[in-house]
Amino acid sequence: MIQVQLLTKRYGPHTAVDGLTFTAPPGAVTGFLGPNGAGKSTTMRMIVGLERPTSGTATVNGVRYADLSAPLRSVGTMLDARSVHPGRTAFRHLMAMARTHGIPRSRVEEVVGLTGLESVAGRRAGTFSLGMGQRLGIAGALLGDPGTLILDEPVNGLDPDGVLWVRHLVKGLAAEGRTVLLSSHLVHELALCADRVVVIGRGRLLAEAALGDPALGAGSLEDAYLRLTAGSVEYRAGAVDGGTR
Protein backbone atom coordinates (compact mmCIF):
# COMPACT_ATOMS: atom_id res chain seq x y z
CA MET A 1 0.00 0.00 0.00
CA ILE A 2 1.24 3.43 -0.95
CA GLN A 3 0.02 6.41 1.04
CA VAL A 4 0.69 9.95 -0.07
CA GLN A 5 -0.34 12.69 2.32
CA LEU A 6 -0.37 16.42 1.68
CA LEU A 7 2.72 15.92 -0.45
CA THR A 8 4.22 19.17 -1.74
CA LYS A 9 7.32 19.88 -3.81
CA ARG A 10 8.49 23.35 -4.71
CA TYR A 11 11.41 24.26 -6.95
CA GLY A 12 11.98 27.89 -6.06
CA PRO A 13 8.79 29.73 -7.00
CA HIS A 14 7.43 26.81 -9.03
CA THR A 15 5.18 24.34 -7.24
CA ALA A 16 5.38 20.95 -8.95
CA VAL A 17 3.27 18.99 -6.47
CA ASP A 18 0.77 20.84 -4.31
CA GLY A 19 -0.73 19.20 -1.21
CA LEU A 20 -1.38 15.89 -2.95
CA THR A 21 -3.13 13.13 -0.99
CA PHE A 22 -4.07 9.70 -2.34
CA THR A 23 -3.78 5.99 -1.60
CA ALA A 24 -2.80 3.07 -3.81
CA PRO A 25 -4.28 0.02 -2.05
CA PRO A 26 -3.03 -3.56 -2.34
CA GLY A 27 -4.67 -5.93 -4.79
CA ALA A 28 -5.43 -3.23 -7.32
CA VAL A 29 -3.86 -1.40 -10.22
CA THR A 30 -4.04 2.31 -9.47
CA GLY A 31 -3.74 4.36 -12.64
CA PHE A 32 -1.96 7.68 -12.18
CA LEU A 33 -3.20 10.17 -14.75
CA GLY A 34 -2.49 13.76 -15.57
CA PRO A 35 -1.29 16.06 -18.33
CA ASN A 36 2.43 16.44 -18.97
CA GLY A 37 3.99 18.45 -16.19
CA ALA A 38 1.17 17.66 -13.76
CA GLY A 39 3.67 16.27 -11.26
CA LYS A 40 3.26 12.51 -11.76
CA SER A 41 6.96 11.74 -12.13
CA THR A 42 7.93 14.15 -9.35
CA THR A 43 5.44 12.43 -7.04
CA MET A 44 6.85 9.01 -7.92
CA ARG A 45 10.43 10.19 -7.37
CA MET A 46 9.41 11.50 -3.95
CA ILE A 47 7.77 8.18 -3.03
CA VAL A 48 11.05 6.34 -3.69
CA GLY A 49 13.22 8.94 -1.97
CA LEU A 50 15.11 10.38 -4.94
CA GLU A 51 13.62 13.77 -4.11
CA ARG A 52 12.69 15.11 -0.71
CA PRO A 53 9.21 16.56 -0.29
CA THR A 54 9.07 20.23 0.65
CA SER A 55 6.32 19.10 3.01
CA GLY A 56 3.99 16.15 3.48
CA THR A 57 4.77 12.46 3.54
CA ALA A 58 4.84 9.43 1.28
CA THR A 59 4.97 5.94 2.75
CA VAL A 60 4.95 2.36 1.52
CA ASN A 61 3.27 -0.04 3.95
CA GLY A 62 3.44 2.75 6.50
CA VAL A 63 7.20 3.23 6.21
CA ARG A 64 9.13 6.00 4.53
CA TYR A 65 10.94 4.47 1.50
CA ALA A 66 14.39 5.42 2.76
CA ASP A 67 13.65 3.57 6.02
CA LEU A 68 12.73 0.27 4.34
CA SER A 69 15.17 -2.43 5.41
CA ALA A 70 15.33 -4.01 1.94
CA PRO A 71 13.80 -1.54 -0.51
CA LEU A 72 14.06 -3.71 -3.65
CA ARG A 73 12.25 -6.55 -1.90
CA SER A 74 9.40 -4.24 -0.85
CA VAL A 75 9.06 -1.92 -3.81
CA GLY A 76 9.84 -2.44 -7.49
CA THR A 77 10.39 0.80 -9.32
CA MET A 78 10.62 1.74 -12.97
CA LEU A 79 10.99 5.47 -13.38
CA ASP A 80 12.64 6.13 -16.67
CA ALA A 81 13.89 3.72 -19.28
CA ARG A 82 17.11 5.76 -19.31
CA SER A 83 18.08 4.76 -15.78
CA VAL A 84 20.77 2.42 -17.01
CA HIS A 85 24.42 3.00 -17.86
CA PRO A 86 24.49 2.55 -21.65
CA GLY A 87 27.89 0.85 -21.54
CA ARG A 88 26.77 -2.03 -19.36
CA THR A 89 25.01 -5.14 -20.63
CA ALA A 90 21.43 -5.67 -19.53
CA PHE A 91 22.44 -8.77 -17.59
CA ARG A 92 25.28 -7.03 -15.72
CA HIS A 93 22.98 -4.10 -14.97
CA LEU A 94 20.48 -6.45 -13.34
CA MET A 95 23.27 -8.39 -11.59
CA ALA A 96 24.61 -5.19 -10.02
CA MET A 97 21.10 -4.33 -8.80
CA ALA A 98 20.60 -7.85 -7.46
CA ARG A 99 23.91 -7.84 -5.57
CA THR A 100 22.85 -4.84 -3.48
CA HIS A 101 20.20 -7.07 -1.89
CA GLY A 102 21.87 -10.47 -2.09
CA ILE A 103 19.36 -11.56 -4.74
CA PRO A 104 20.70 -14.71 -6.47
CA ARG A 105 21.76 -14.95 -10.09
CA SER A 106 18.93 -17.43 -10.69
CA ARG A 107 16.39 -14.69 -9.98
CA VAL A 108 18.14 -12.38 -12.46
CA GLU A 109 17.87 -15.11 -15.11
CA GLU A 110 14.22 -15.55 -14.14
CA VAL A 111 13.27 -11.89 -14.67
CA VAL A 112 15.25 -11.81 -17.90
CA GLY A 113 13.05 -14.68 -19.05
CA LEU A 114 9.86 -13.11 -17.70
CA THR A 115 10.46 -9.91 -19.66
CA GLY A 116 11.54 -11.68 -22.85
CA LEU A 117 15.08 -10.27 -22.83
CA GLU A 118 16.96 -13.61 -23.13
CA SER A 119 18.29 -12.95 -26.62
CA VAL A 120 19.53 -9.43 -25.84
CA ALA A 121 20.64 -9.73 -22.20
CA GLY A 122 24.30 -9.84 -23.27
CA ARG A 123 23.99 -6.64 -25.27
CA ARG A 124 24.95 -3.25 -23.92
CA ALA A 125 21.91 -1.28 -22.80
CA GLY A 126 22.96 1.69 -24.94
CA THR A 127 22.09 -0.32 -28.05
CA PHE A 128 18.53 -0.99 -26.84
CA SER A 129 15.40 0.42 -28.47
CA LEU A 130 12.99 2.30 -26.20
CA GLY A 131 10.78 -0.77 -25.96
CA MET A 132 13.67 -3.03 -24.94
CA GLY A 133 14.73 -0.40 -22.39
CA GLN A 134 11.20 -0.49 -20.94
CA ARG A 135 11.37 -4.25 -20.64
CA LEU A 136 14.72 -3.95 -18.88
CA GLY A 137 13.21 -1.37 -16.50
CA ILE A 138 10.32 -3.73 -15.74
CA ALA A 139 12.78 -6.60 -15.21
CA GLY A 140 14.58 -4.46 -12.64
CA ALA A 141 11.30 -3.64 -10.91
CA LEU A 142 10.38 -7.33 -10.63
CA LEU A 143 13.84 -8.39 -9.40
CA GLY A 144 13.10 -8.37 -5.66
CA ASP A 145 9.64 -9.99 -6.07
CA PRO A 146 8.20 -6.88 -4.36
CA GLY A 147 4.74 -6.43 -2.92
CA THR A 148 4.49 -2.92 -4.35
CA LEU A 149 5.26 -1.74 -7.89
CA ILE A 150 5.72 1.82 -9.07
CA LEU A 151 5.82 2.07 -12.83
CA ASP A 152 6.20 5.41 -14.62
CA GLU A 153 4.88 5.21 -18.20
CA PRO A 154 5.74 1.53 -18.63
CA VAL A 155 4.03 1.15 -22.00
CA ASN A 156 5.82 4.08 -23.62
CA GLY A 157 7.59 2.87 -26.73
CA LEU A 158 6.29 -0.69 -26.53
CA ASP A 159 4.85 -2.38 -29.59
CA PRO A 160 1.22 -3.63 -29.40
CA ASP A 161 2.48 -7.02 -28.24
CA GLY A 162 4.39 -5.37 -25.44
CA VAL A 163 1.45 -3.19 -24.43
CA LEU A 164 -0.73 -6.27 -24.14
CA TRP A 165 1.99 -8.02 -22.15
CA VAL A 166 2.26 -5.14 -19.64
CA ARG A 167 -1.53 -5.09 -19.30
CA HIS A 168 -1.64 -8.78 -18.40
CA LEU A 169 1.45 -8.46 -16.19
CA VAL A 170 0.11 -5.65 -13.99
CA LYS A 171 -3.33 -7.21 -13.72
CA GLY A 172 -1.71 -10.48 -12.67
CA LEU A 173 0.49 -8.72 -10.10
CA ALA A 174 -2.54 -6.99 -8.58
CA ALA A 175 -4.49 -10.24 -8.57
CA GLU A 176 -1.70 -11.73 -6.42
CA GLY A 177 -2.46 -9.05 -3.85
CA ARG A 178 0.28 -6.62 -4.80
CA THR A 179 0.00 -2.86 -4.95
CA VAL A 180 0.53 -1.40 -8.42
CA LEU A 181 0.81 2.32 -9.11
CA LEU A 182 1.10 2.91 -12.83
CA SER A 183 1.30 6.28 -14.52
CA SER A 184 0.43 6.89 -18.11
CA HIS A 185 -0.85 9.58 -20.36
CA LEU A 186 -2.54 6.89 -22.47
CA VAL A 187 -6.05 7.12 -21.07
CA HIS A 188 -7.37 4.27 -23.22
CA GLU A 189 -4.68 1.97 -21.94
CA LEU A 190 -5.38 2.82 -18.30
CA ALA A 191 -9.09 2.26 -18.89
CA LEU A 192 -8.16 -1.31 -19.85
CA CYS A 193 -5.75 -2.21 -17.05
CA ALA A 194 -6.51 -0.01 -14.03
CA ASP A 195 -8.98 -0.79 -11.28
CA ARG A 196 -8.97 2.75 -10.00
CA VAL A 197 -7.52 6.08 -11.03
CA VAL A 198 -5.87 9.06 -9.41
CA VAL A 199 -6.10 12.11 -11.67
CA ILE A 200 -3.89 15.12 -10.99
CA GLY A 201 -3.37 18.47 -12.67
CA ARG A 202 -0.96 21.26 -11.76
CA GLY A 203 0.27 19.10 -8.90
CA ARG A 204 -3.17 18.87 -7.28
CA LEU A 205 -5.58 15.99 -6.89
CA LEU A 206 -8.50 16.26 -9.32
CA ALA A 207 -10.12 12.89 -8.69
CA GLU A 208 -9.50 9.60 -6.94
CA ALA A 209 -12.05 6.91 -7.72
CA ALA A 210 -12.63 3.35 -8.84
CA LEU A 211 -13.30 2.92 -12.53
CA GLY A 212 -17.02 3.12 -13.08
CA ASP A 213 -17.52 5.17 -9.93
CA PRO A 214 -20.26 7.74 -10.56
CA ALA A 215 -17.83 10.38 -9.26
CA LEU A 216 -16.05 10.12 -12.61
CA GLY A 217 -19.35 10.88 -14.34
CA ALA A 218 -21.05 9.08 -17.18
CA GLY A 219 -19.16 8.22 -20.35
CA SER A 220 -15.66 6.90 -20.91
CA LEU A 221 -12.59 7.45 -18.75
CA GLU A 222 -11.33 9.71 -21.49
CA ASP A 223 -14.39 11.95 -21.19
CA ALA A 224 -13.90 12.13 -17.44
CA TYR A 225 -10.19 12.82 -17.85
CA LEU A 226 -10.73 15.64 -20.35
CA ARG A 227 -13.40 17.20 -18.19
CA LEU A 228 -11.28 16.96 -15.03
CA THR A 229 -8.11 18.31 -16.57
CA ALA A 230 -9.80 21.07 -18.58
CA GLY A 231 -8.50 23.61 -16.07
CA SER A 232 -4.95 22.32 -16.46
CA VAL A 233 -4.84 22.57 -20.24
CA GLU A 234 -3.57 26.14 -20.33
CA TYR A 235 -0.79 25.02 -18.07
CA ARG A 236 -0.01 22.13 -20.38
CA ALA A 237 0.05 24.40 -23.41
CA GLY A 238 2.36 26.89 -21.77
CA ALA A 239 4.60 24.40 -20.08
CA VAL A 240 8.30 24.49 -20.70
CA ASP A 241 8.97 21.45 -18.61
CA GLY A 242 7.79 18.23 -20.18
CA GLY A 243 7.70 16.45 -16.86
CA THR A 244 11.20 15.06 -17.16
CA ARG A 245 12.71 16.93 -14.24
Binding site: G49, A70, R73, L79, R82, R92, A96, R99, H101
Partner: protein, 275 residues
Protein backbone atom coordinates in the same frame (compact mmCIF):
# COMPACT_ATOMS: atom_id res chain seq x y z
CA UNK B 1 6.22 -10.23 -0.93
CA UNK B 2 7.15 -8.41 2.24
CA UNK B 3 10.57 -7.20 3.29
CA UNK B 4 12.66 -10.28 4.08
CA UNK B 5 16.19 -10.46 5.32
CA UNK B 6 18.65 -7.63 5.44
CA UNK B 7 18.77 -5.33 2.47
CA UNK B 8 21.55 -3.25 1.05
CA UNK B 9 24.36 -3.96 3.52
CA UNK B 10 27.74 -2.37 2.85
CA UNK B 11 29.44 -5.63 1.70
CA UNK B 12 26.59 -6.21 -0.76
CA UNK B 13 26.83 -2.68 -2.11
CA UNK B 14 30.60 -3.17 -2.51
CA UNK B 15 29.91 -6.36 -4.50
CA UNK B 16 27.42 -4.44 -6.66
CA UNK B 17 29.85 -1.58 -7.28
CA UNK B 18 32.59 -4.07 -8.18
CA UNK B 19 30.24 -5.61 -10.76
CA UNK B 20 29.42 -2.17 -12.13
CA UNK B 21 33.06 -1.10 -12.33
CA UNK B 22 34.30 -4.26 -14.04
CA UNK B 23 31.38 -4.45 -16.47
CA UNK B 24 32.34 -1.25 -18.29
CA UNK B 25 34.81 -1.35 -21.17
CA UNK B 26 36.18 2.07 -20.23
CA UNK B 27 37.49 0.60 -16.96
CA UNK B 28 39.54 -2.00 -18.82
CA UNK B 29 40.80 0.51 -21.39
CA UNK B 30 42.02 2.81 -18.62
CA UNK B 31 43.67 -0.14 -16.88
CA UNK B 32 45.38 -1.22 -20.10
CA UNK B 33 46.52 2.34 -20.79
CA UNK B 34 48.10 2.54 -17.35
CA UNK B 35 50.10 -0.67 -17.84
CA UNK B 36 51.15 0.11 -21.41
CA UNK B 37 52.16 3.71 -20.68
CA UNK B 38 54.11 2.59 -17.63
CA UNK B 39 56.02 -0.08 -19.55
CA UNK B 40 56.62 1.98 -22.69
CA UNK B 41 57.75 5.23 -21.03
CA UNK B 42 59.98 3.44 -18.56
CA UNK B 43 61.56 1.40 -21.35
CA UNK B 44 62.24 4.47 -23.50
CA UNK B 45 63.64 6.40 -20.57
CA UNK B 46 65.87 3.51 -19.43
CA UNK B 47 67.06 2.98 -22.98
CA UNK B 48 67.99 6.65 -23.35
CA UNK B 49 69.72 6.84 -19.98
CA UNK B 50 71.69 3.60 -20.31
CA UNK B 51 74.45 5.41 -22.21
CA UNK B 52 75.21 7.73 -19.29
CA UNK B 53 78.44 7.03 -17.38
CA UNK B 54 76.83 6.79 -13.95
CA UNK B 55 73.78 4.89 -15.20
CA UNK B 56 71.70 3.33 -12.44
CA UNK B 57 68.96 1.08 -13.85
CA UNK B 58 66.78 1.46 -10.77
CA UNK B 59 66.89 5.24 -11.14
CA UNK B 60 64.58 4.95 -14.17
CA UNK B 61 61.83 3.00 -12.38
CA UNK B 62 59.69 6.07 -11.75
CA UNK B 63 60.44 7.77 -15.08
CA UNK B 64 56.97 7.05 -16.51
CA UNK B 65 55.00 7.48 -13.31
CA UNK B 66 53.71 11.00 -13.90
CA UNK B 67 51.96 10.04 -17.14
CA UNK B 68 51.09 6.52 -16.00
CA UNK B 69 48.79 8.07 -13.40
CA UNK B 70 46.53 9.30 -16.21
CA UNK B 71 45.07 5.78 -16.53
CA UNK B 72 44.03 5.47 -12.86
CA UNK B 73 42.87 9.12 -12.84
CA UNK B 74 40.56 8.57 -15.81
CA UNK B 75 39.38 5.26 -14.37
CA UNK B 76 38.43 6.99 -11.13
CA UNK B 77 36.75 9.96 -12.82
CA UNK B 78 34.64 7.69 -15.05
CA UNK B 79 33.61 5.59 -12.03
CA UNK B 80 32.68 8.72 -10.09
CA UNK B 81 30.72 10.45 -12.84
CA UNK B 82 29.24 7.35 -14.52
CA UNK B 83 26.11 7.35 -12.41
CA UNK B 84 25.26 10.96 -13.18
CA UNK B 85 26.43 11.34 -16.77
CA UNK B 86 23.90 8.58 -17.49
CA UNK B 87 20.60 8.01 -15.70
CA UNK B 88 22.14 5.12 -13.78
CA UNK B 89 21.96 6.97 -10.47
CA UNK B 90 18.17 6.49 -10.36
CA UNK B 91 18.53 2.72 -10.32
CA UNK B 92 21.41 2.92 -7.87
CA UNK B 93 19.81 5.18 -5.29
CA UNK B 94 16.41 3.50 -5.50
CA UNK B 95 18.22 0.28 -4.52
CA UNK B 96 20.29 2.03 -1.82
CA UNK B 97 18.19 4.98 -0.62
CA UNK B 98 20.59 5.80 2.21
CA UNK B 99 23.01 6.76 -0.61
CA UNK B 100 26.25 7.08 1.37
CA UNK B 101 27.00 3.33 1.21
CA UNK B 102 27.16 3.72 -2.58
CA UNK B 103 29.92 6.30 -2.31
CA UNK B 104 31.83 4.27 0.27
CA UNK B 105 31.45 1.12 -1.84
CA UNK B 106 32.66 2.95 -4.95
CA UNK B 107 35.75 4.06 -3.06
CA UNK B 108 36.44 0.49 -1.94
CA UNK B 109 35.81 -1.01 -5.38
CA UNK B 110 37.87 1.60 -7.23
CA UNK B 111 40.73 1.38 -4.71
CA UNK B 112 40.73 -2.43 -4.96
CA UNK B 113 40.67 -2.49 -8.74
CA UNK B 114 43.22 0.33 -9.01
CA UNK B 115 45.51 -1.55 -6.65
CA UNK B 116 45.62 -4.46 -9.11
CA UNK B 117 46.18 -2.05 -12.00
CA UNK B 118 48.92 -0.30 -10.03
CA UNK B 119 50.72 -3.56 -9.28
CA UNK B 120 50.52 -4.56 -12.95
CA UNK B 121 51.82 -1.12 -13.99
CA UNK B 122 54.75 -1.32 -11.56
CA UNK B 123 55.57 -4.84 -12.78
CA UNK B 124 55.56 -3.42 -16.33
CA UNK B 125 57.98 -0.67 -15.24
CA UNK B 126 60.31 -3.23 -13.62
CA UNK B 127 60.29 -5.41 -16.73
CA UNK B 128 60.94 -2.31 -18.85
CA UNK B 129 64.25 -1.46 -17.14
CA UNK B 130 65.64 -4.99 -17.61
CA UNK B 131 66.74 -4.78 -21.30
CA UNK B 132 68.75 -1.58 -20.73
CA UNK B 133 70.29 -2.98 -17.55
CA UNK B 134 71.35 -6.23 -19.18
CA UNK B 135 72.84 -4.34 -22.13
CA UNK B 136 75.26 -2.78 -19.65
CA UNK B 137 75.59 -6.00 -17.63
CA UNK B 138 74.28 -4.20 -14.56
CA UNK B 139 72.41 -6.21 -11.92
CA UNK B 140 68.86 -5.26 -10.97
CA UNK B 141 68.21 -5.99 -7.31
CA UNK B 142 64.75 -4.94 -6.18
CA UNK B 143 65.19 -5.91 -2.55
CA UNK B 144 68.10 -3.64 -1.70
CA UNK B 145 68.18 -0.18 -0.16
CA UNK B 146 65.12 1.99 -0.69
CA UNK B 147 63.93 0.14 -3.80
CA UNK B 148 61.16 -1.87 -2.05
CA UNK B 149 59.84 1.41 -0.62
CA UNK B 150 59.96 3.03 -4.03
CA UNK B 151 58.00 0.15 -5.57
CA UNK B 152 55.42 0.26 -2.76
CA UNK B 153 55.23 4.04 -3.10
CA UNK B 154 54.53 3.73 -6.83
CA UNK B 155 51.65 1.35 -6.11
CA UNK B 156 50.19 3.68 -3.48
CA UNK B 157 50.66 6.70 -5.77
CA UNK B 158 48.75 5.09 -8.66
CA UNK B 159 46.01 3.69 -6.39
CA UNK B 160 45.65 7.08 -4.74
CA UNK B 161 45.33 8.75 -8.14
CA UNK B 162 42.32 6.55 -8.95
CA UNK B 163 40.59 7.34 -5.65
CA UNK B 164 41.34 11.05 -6.14
CA UNK B 165 39.72 10.83 -9.60
CA UNK B 166 36.70 9.04 -8.15
CA UNK B 167 36.27 11.64 -5.42
CA UNK B 168 36.39 14.60 -7.81
CA UNK B 169 34.13 12.77 -10.26
CA UNK B 170 31.55 11.98 -7.58
CA UNK B 171 31.56 15.59 -6.43
CA UNK B 172 31.53 17.29 -9.85
CA UNK B 173 29.27 14.62 -11.48
CA UNK B 174 30.15 15.61 -15.06
CA UNK B 175 32.92 13.89 -17.01
CA UNK B 176 34.63 16.79 -18.76
CA UNK B 177 34.76 19.27 -15.85
CA UNK B 178 35.97 16.46 -13.57
CA UNK B 179 38.70 15.42 -16.02
CA UNK B 180 39.80 19.03 -16.49
CA UNK B 181 39.96 19.44 -12.70
CA UNK B 182 42.04 16.35 -11.96
CA UNK B 183 44.40 16.71 -14.91
CA UNK B 184 44.74 20.41 -14.25
CA UNK B 185 45.68 19.80 -10.62
CA UNK B 186 48.03 16.88 -11.25
CA UNK B 187 49.75 17.69 -14.53
CA UNK B 188 49.08 21.22 -15.76
CA UNK B 189 49.23 23.40 -12.67
CA UNK B 190 52.70 22.23 -11.50
CA UNK B 191 54.17 22.97 -14.93
CA UNK B 192 52.43 26.33 -15.22
CA UNK B 193 53.63 27.40 -11.77
CA UNK B 194 57.19 26.34 -12.45
CA UNK B 195 57.27 28.14 -15.79
CA UNK B 196 55.82 31.27 -14.20
CA UNK B 197 58.65 31.45 -11.70
CA UNK B 198 61.35 30.69 -14.26
CA UNK B 199 60.10 33.37 -16.64
CA UNK B 200 60.26 35.96 -13.89
CA UNK B 201 64.04 35.92 -14.42
CA UNK B 202 65.24 34.93 -10.99
CA UNK B 203 67.14 31.85 -12.07
CA UNK B 204 70.58 33.39 -11.64
CA UNK B 205 70.04 34.59 -8.10
CA UNK B 206 71.88 32.58 -5.48
CA UNK B 207 69.70 30.43 -3.24
CA UNK B 208 65.94 30.26 -3.34
CA UNK B 209 63.74 33.28 -3.95
CA UNK B 210 60.48 33.71 -2.02
CA UNK B 211 58.52 33.09 -5.23
CA UNK B 212 60.33 29.83 -5.86
CA UNK B 213 59.81 28.82 -2.29
CA UNK B 214 56.08 29.51 -2.58
CA UNK B 215 55.74 27.70 -5.91
CA UNK B 216 57.73 24.69 -4.74
CA UNK B 217 55.60 24.48 -1.63
CA UNK B 218 52.38 24.59 -3.64
CA UNK B 219 53.69 22.07 -6.16
CA UNK B 220 54.66 19.70 -3.37
CA UNK B 221 51.20 19.96 -1.85
CA UNK B 222 49.42 19.22 -5.16
CA UNK B 223 48.36 15.58 -5.67
CA UNK B 224 51.22 14.54 -7.95
CA UNK B 225 53.80 16.41 -5.86
CA UNK B 226 52.57 14.77 -2.68
CA UNK B 227 52.38 11.43 -4.45
CA UNK B 228 55.89 11.99 -5.74
CA UNK B 229 57.18 12.10 -2.17
CA UNK B 230 56.05 8.49 -1.87
CA UNK B 231 58.62 7.41 -4.43
CA UNK B 232 61.46 9.77 -3.43
CA UNK B 233 63.97 7.98 -1.27
CA UNK B 234 64.68 9.92 1.90
CA UNK B 235 68.38 10.27 1.10
CA UNK B 236 67.65 12.01 -2.19
CA UNK B 237 68.08 15.75 -2.19
CA UNK B 238 64.75 17.48 -1.75
CA UNK B 239 63.52 20.34 -3.89
CA UNK B 240 64.80 23.57 -2.36
CA UNK B 241 62.36 25.49 -0.24
CA UNK B 242 59.75 22.78 0.12
CA UNK B 243 58.32 21.50 3.37
CA UNK B 244 60.02 18.23 4.30
CA UNK B 245 57.02 15.91 4.56
CA UNK B 246 58.67 12.60 3.86
CA UNK B 247 56.92 9.66 2.26
CA UNK B 248 54.32 9.32 5.01
CA UNK B 249 53.55 13.03 4.94
CA UNK B 250 53.23 12.91 1.16
CA UNK B 251 50.89 9.95 1.45
CA UNK B 252 48.75 11.82 3.95
CA UNK B 253 48.51 14.87 1.69
CA UNK B 254 47.49 12.62 -1.21
CA UNK B 255 44.91 10.93 1.04
CA UNK B 256 43.52 14.35 1.94
CA UNK B 257 43.15 15.16 -1.78
CA UNK B 258 40.97 12.06 -2.12
CA UNK B 259 39.13 12.34 1.18
CA UNK B 260 38.05 15.99 1.10
CA UNK B 261 36.13 15.83 -2.21
CA UNK B 262 34.76 12.41 -1.24
CA UNK B 263 33.29 13.80 1.98
CA UNK B 264 31.97 16.83 0.09
CA UNK B 265 30.32 14.47 -2.42
CA UNK B 266 28.77 12.58 0.49
CA UNK B 267 27.40 15.77 2.00
CA UNK B 268 25.97 16.80 -1.37
CA UNK B 269 24.31 13.37 -1.73
CA UNK B 270 22.82 13.61 1.73
CA UNK B 271 21.46 17.13 1.52
CA UNK B 272 20.30 17.42 -2.08
CA UNK B 273 17.82 15.66 -4.32
CA UNK B 274 19.31 13.44 -7.00
CA UNK B 275 17.75 13.99 -10.40
Amino acid sequence: MSARGPGATLPRVVAAEWTKLTSLRSTWWAALASVVVSGALTYLSADAASGDPGYDPLGELTAGLLLTQLGPLVLGVLAGTGEYSTGGFRTTFVAVPRRWPVLAAQAVAVAGFALLVAVASVVAAVLAILPAASSRDLPVNLTEGSTPWTLAGMVVFLTGAAVFGLAVGALVRRVVPALVTVIGLTLVLPVVLTLAVESSGTTFVEGVTPQERAVNTITTLLPSGAGGLLVTSSDASTVPGTPDLGAVGGGLVLAAWALVPLVAAGVRLRLKDVK
